[in-house]
Amino acid sequence: MWSENTESSMNNTDLVRQSLKKRYLKEQIFKAVGMFSIVAAIVFLIILLADIFTKAMPAFSQTNIELEVTLDAGEIGVGTNPTEQDLMAADFRRVIRNALAKQFPDVKKRKEKRELYSLTSMGAEFQLRDMVIDDPSLLGQNIKVEFMADDDVDAVIKGAIDRTLPESDRRVKDQKLAWIERLEQSGQISKQFNWHFFSSGDSREPEMAGIKGAIKGSFFTLLVTLALSFPVAVAAAIYLEEFAPKNRFIDFIEININNLAAVPSIVFGLLGLAVFINFFSLPRSAPLVGGIVLSLMTLPTIIIASRSAIKAVPPSLREAALGLGASKMQTVFHHVLPAALPGILTGTIIGMAQALGETAPLLMIGMVAFIVDIPQGITDPSTVLPIQVYLWADSPERGFLAKTSAAIMVLLFFLVAMNAIAIYLRKKFEKKW
């Protein structure tokens, strides 16, 4: 039987050769599918980033309208020596309206006038008010001020509203467009970098809405998260790696840690709502509760990273310390922990980055509220960057589209920065034992 086969083995090579063409075709197809998967992932990323980037660009510049206003004390309804409180209550809107009316004297009808006054933002009067409060000597003067334009004007100037469309399809009507064009010709319209976006809180008006409140909210929330999760996670990791006996209870802890790492984040939000807000009556919408919830969520990540960092410390180091008569606790805190610290820090930063991007659990504990004031502490109501993105994405006004994308870019900037720090730390302190 074998001899028969040996005979056939003479042309085995030919048999293999015959099959080769087909097999190599399969190989090529398989490889191409793999290549396609990678390329698909890269293309998705590029589309995503390009989409957000192009949408965000308009938000970084702000259109202004320069108007000459007469700050007449009588006009705004204050005496000659107004106190700050008087000024807060004064009617600056009238001054701006007068300036607009002077610019376009042919506008008479009431309805048209209302249209005209909507060229500048709702925030223009506050802009003027703050100027006067800063420098009361402006009262009685004629000054030129660059007022923030309304988001419709902004959209026209940036080309987001197509001027060539027929009037019926266009958000900004012919008359208003004519005014804008006249202002443009007289050089009263200018664009500048939108500092306002980084220095103010949320608003219902797209041109007035800023990101500062959300940034500070995120900052306070992360502060609480870090303060809680870092010490607890490191302590837990030390215990599990260095002290834990082998028993059922420890196994149970480990199962819990691994499982918590995979529990949907929204469930942590339910925990926060039921336990911290309803049971412990902690304040709603506050970075304090947000931070507690996020720290419970990031604990497993940091514990797992810290454990592998501690595990990577060579036993020889421990033996050296123990051999000198150091106690187990001294060995751990004097030698093992410092050696593992870079790894632990890297894991912590990655956990913090994860917490920074987290949205769902914070929705549950009321951080989704509309909050104009910039939070000053961990118990003030506030929102965070990803929730600001969510809120703006839900707003119907066109101007918020760009704001949303810009907020995403700010968020991504912070994430990239944190990851860069983590990579730097890892590279710098990487030790080969």
């Binding site: 957000i52 984040s265 009556s281 769902a360 969510y390 589209l401």
Partner: protein, 460 residues
């Protein structure tokens, strides 16, 4: 006394105890005659003293603080009943009015009756606060005095201190258990209240979901309003689409990267996958809702299909992209655990690379890959922001990916972000959904983690 001030006082006292104990032991050491023996450092005596002052007192403070509010509430209600002030209003609201009066203006604005109650409330609050302060401080002082008498140079202070620290470390490790217990209790407790109002069977098997209408009193608990089947189907539909995208792409990219790609491609592709993994889900949600969904709708229209503007397809597709790096890194781990000699064995027989991968590596790694897919499924089911932003709210019972469906997580968010009374059936329903979500993902996770661990052990 304010809590922060009390804690500050305790800290000062702890520091004081530290120095006292250290001093006492140092002095005792100096008086000893022989110096041969190795002695416990005096600072450890100090640490133990400080912890004796601090830990029990803080624990006591915590419990008293927990008990304070219920106590004050019951005292006030008694007072209201005793003093014949007619409290027509809801007691909770009544108390809330009084407690929120923290400025003289607000107090002045209260009705005379309430002002009277306010006075009483103030008195009770002051006395309880004082009592708490006295109890906590005296506990700390007594313990330290007792401890100072007991310590001598023979006390194994370092070992005691280390035992305490070890206990604290164990406590930190146990927080994982407490968290799980907290989750289980919070969803279970509210869910049982919900199932008290709505029969569990009609929740699990009912096909109509319209919680908004259930606010009307005559409809509370009506079986039609809380049938969660459309939610389960919607969740599964979107998760299925997501897995359909992410499993082949993730697995193939892992294979390509580990078996074919040169170092240049790897240097580009690995960071790309890491960035995809690091992008917050809210960003994916924005992308799905404002770019992908309109694109799919327009594409469908140009082909003559009617596509909902919040189609399941858009949400599922973007969710799939989000999970690609997750699947890819899990598969990569699993594939690299397959021993090198299996690859060589196959290559050595003249198999091509793809034959080796398809016929040897993947079958060998199958349990691990299955575990990874289960974890990915659990991830997809629990994903919230993408579906909140890109999937619909209407509970359509359909498996057509072009229509709008809603999911469990979307409903949890919608039910809990409105201004609702917390006890309404509507908010309780969110916890029942949360329970379903937690149990489902828990089962998937436990199976997946078990399978993956077994798989790893096989090759270790």
């Amino acid at each position: 006394m304010k809590i922060s001030a009390l804690i500050f006082l305790l800290l000062i006292f702890a520091a004081f105890s530290y120095f006292m104990a250290r001093q006492k032991v140092s002095t005792a050491y100096r008086q000893r005659k022989q110096k041969s023996k190795i002695l416990t450092l005096p600072k450890y005596f100090g640490y133990v003293a400080a912890l004796t002052a601090l830990l029990p007192a803080l624990l006591m403070l915590f419990f008293l603080q927990m008990a304070e509010e219920p106590y004050i509430n019951s005292e006030i209600s008694n007072y209201i009943v005793n003093s014949d002030i007619e409290a027509n209003e809801d007691l909770d609201l009544y108390l809330n009015d009084i407690k929120s009066a923290d400025t003289p203006e607000k107090v002045a604005a209260l009705t005379p009756e309430k002002q009277q109650v306010y006075q009483r409330y103030h008195e009770i609050e002051t006395t309880t606060n004082r009592t708490i302060t006295v109890i906590v401080l005296s506990l700390a002082i007594l313990l330290v005095i007792w401890g100072m008498r007991r310590i001598n140079t023979e006390t194994p202070a370092r070992r005691v201190f280390e035992k305490i620290i070890e206990g604290i470390l164990l406590l930190a490790a146990s927080i994982a258990i407490m968290t799980t217990v907290g989750i289980v209790f919070s969803v279970l407790f509210e869910s049982t209240r919900f199932f008290g109002e709505v029969p569990i069977m009609s929740f699990m098997f009912g096909t109509e979901w319209s919680p908004q209408t259930a606010i009307r009193a005559d409809q509370v608990g009506s079986s039609a309003a809380f049938g969660a089947v459309p939610l389960f189907v919607g969740t599964m539909l979107i998760s299925f689409i997501a897995l359909l995208v992410s499993v082949p792409l993730g697995l193939m990219s892992a294979i390509y990267l580990s078996e074919y790609a040169g170092s240049k491609i790897r240097a580009v592709a690995k960071p790309v996958l890491e960035i995809l993994a690091g992008i917050p889900t809210v960003v994916y949600g924005f992308f799905a809702a404002l770019t992908v969904a309109p694109f799919i709708r327009d594409l469908g229209q140009s082909m003559g299909l009617s596509v909902a503007s919040e189609s399941a397809l858009a949400a599922g597709l973007v969710m799939g992209i989000m999970i690609i790096p997750f699947v890819s890194s899990l598969s990569d781990d699993v594939l690299s655990a397959v021993p090198q000699n299996l690859r060589e064995g196959s290559l050595g027989l003249g198999a091509t690379r793809s034959e080796t991968i398809v016929k040897v590596l993947i079958p060998a790694a199958l349990p691990g890959i299955v575990g990874g897919v289960l974890l990915a499924a659990s991830r997809a089911i629990g994903e919230t922001m993408i579906v909140v932003m890109a999937a619909g709210l209407a509970a359509n019972l359909t498996v057509n990916p072009l229509e709008a469906v809603t999911t469990v997580t979307v409903q949890i968010v919608t039910l809990l972000t409105g201004d609702q009374e917390f006890d309404s059936a509507k908010t309780l329903a969110a916890f029942a959904l949360g329970l379903m979500l937690f149990v489902t993902t828990l089962i998937l996770n436990v199976i997946a983690l078990h399978v993956v661990r077994k798989y790893r052990e096989q090759y270790e």
